[in-house]
Homo-oligomer: 311 residues x 2
Amino acid sequence: MAHRVTVYEVGPRDGLQNEARTVPTADKLALIGALAAAGLRRIEASSFVSPRWIPQLADAAEVTAALPAVDGTSYVVLVPNAKGLDRLAVALARAGEGHPPVEAAVFLSASETHNRKNLNRTVAETLGELEALVPAALARGLRVRGYVSTVWGCPYEGPVDPGRAAEIVERLLALGCHQVSLGDTIGVGTPNQTRRILGLLRARARPEQIALHMHDTRGTALANVLAGLEEGVTTFDASIGGLGGCPYAPGASGNLATEDLVYMLDGMGLETGVDFRKLVAAGALAQRLVGRTLPGKALQAELARAAPAGG
Amino acid sequence: MAHRVTVYEVGPRDGLQNEARTVPTADKLALIGALAAAGLRRIEASSFVSPRWIPQLADAAEVTAALPAVDGTSYVVLVPNAKGLDRLAVALARAGEGHPPVEAAVFLSASETHNRKNLNRTVAETLGELEALVPAALARGLRVRGYVSTVWGCPYEGPVDPGRAAEIVERLLALGCHQVSLGDTIGVGTPNQTRRILGLLRARARPEQIALHMHDTRGTALANVLAGLEEGVTTFDASIGGLGGCPYAPGASGNLATEDLVYMLDGMGLETGVDFRKLVAAGALAQRLVGRTLPGKALQAELARAAPAGG
């Protein structure tokens, strides 16, 4: 098991894009600043998908141009296509010298139906587009991260053959992605399955090329992280406060909460560089900004401990 | 890792005793019946502590006398002292022949302050009393389970020396307890710590003599269960719907939810004998009985899936 683990924060993008309330640009930047101040070194800041699809992130260019420069922290923004890449390039040009590093992330699903519902294309068609998009991003000097959704299961198709994800990961790495994040989009994963998926990837990717993006919908996220750690994974995605949970049910969760992840990694003596107290402060800020109680458990436990008796 | 795992259900006792609303006796029995019908074979039904301490379980005798006989299912009730044991004996005598098996559970804490706040005695004094109580229960033909609280940490003292728990476990087993459950009362445990604690017990107890009672206060319960499984533990305590969570904060959790545990064990191909769909039905019943949304994640995910769109 590696001694040092990278916590990849997705809250400002994956979290806020799933919140009913659109957070103002200045508040997004305050949250991103709080996350960077807590020691998070990789933060997914926004997405250059069409504002018609995701109005919550329509200010991607403004957010990207104003990202706070914090020593050691780099940012990632989602880029769905050539148009998104152009918008990102314009935003970065506007930001000019001294701007913190920003990389691009591209995405698709392991299951056909989810990919079609999300991107209106087959997986093969999407891969074909990425064969142009990833090199185009690299040519602009951007590092590129890949995302594969529905690796553990699909909301439409149910179980997904892990061989599908393995093939897609191999393709994305061959295109030049420096890392591919495997997403348990609907939070159905369990540890032996996680080990099987990672086992298939062992011959195709170095450990640092793989990240796990687990959802805590059924409480299994940290058990899957533990299985991943045991298999050598060193990067785990998480969302501050569990931001971006499924708002369809009170208490229901989507993304693994960053505080829960860091709490466990700290307890295991693994170095993350994250200050847990500052992270909880960032979680409290996220909760105020979206105006609802977030599902992150360690966040709620810490806030309850901090509250006056009976409060 | 064992192929067969015992899920020990604590909801009717540990759950309901921590709920603000006292559930009527008939409703408790309906919940217990639903849990047994779901395939749970060990159910903690009530507690013979003084009704002045825990009014929610003042009907321990009535519940015990009316426990449903379900093939293979045995019940457990907490017994704090000789008076509690007498009350249990009277209840069992009243129930008469054909009554399902009922065993006694005794309890103390690994940390002095928690034991004093809970039992108004030192740990040594409590162990002294158990030296009489456990043999007295055995003499009445009862099997006895032991509980050790605050093994992973104490709300008053912070970290707890795992050697304390190991000594207490050894004493309880020597007295004749067939199993001792280790409780992470405040949900601070992380997997390496769990492995250390279990490592200390390896020379003192057989795997089936140890149970883990993890709390999910910081989202780590199932990661600790996974570590326990890898260390050979075969019995895990859980509470239907996460019943008995800390009511001090919305969304805050105490007990590991039985549905989350069974979901993970099922996914790992481990046999529990529990029917997940019936378990979710029992969780929905528990939620109706206590009149609040329970924190169990798999329960909420399943209820949301079952709800009509937009519901």
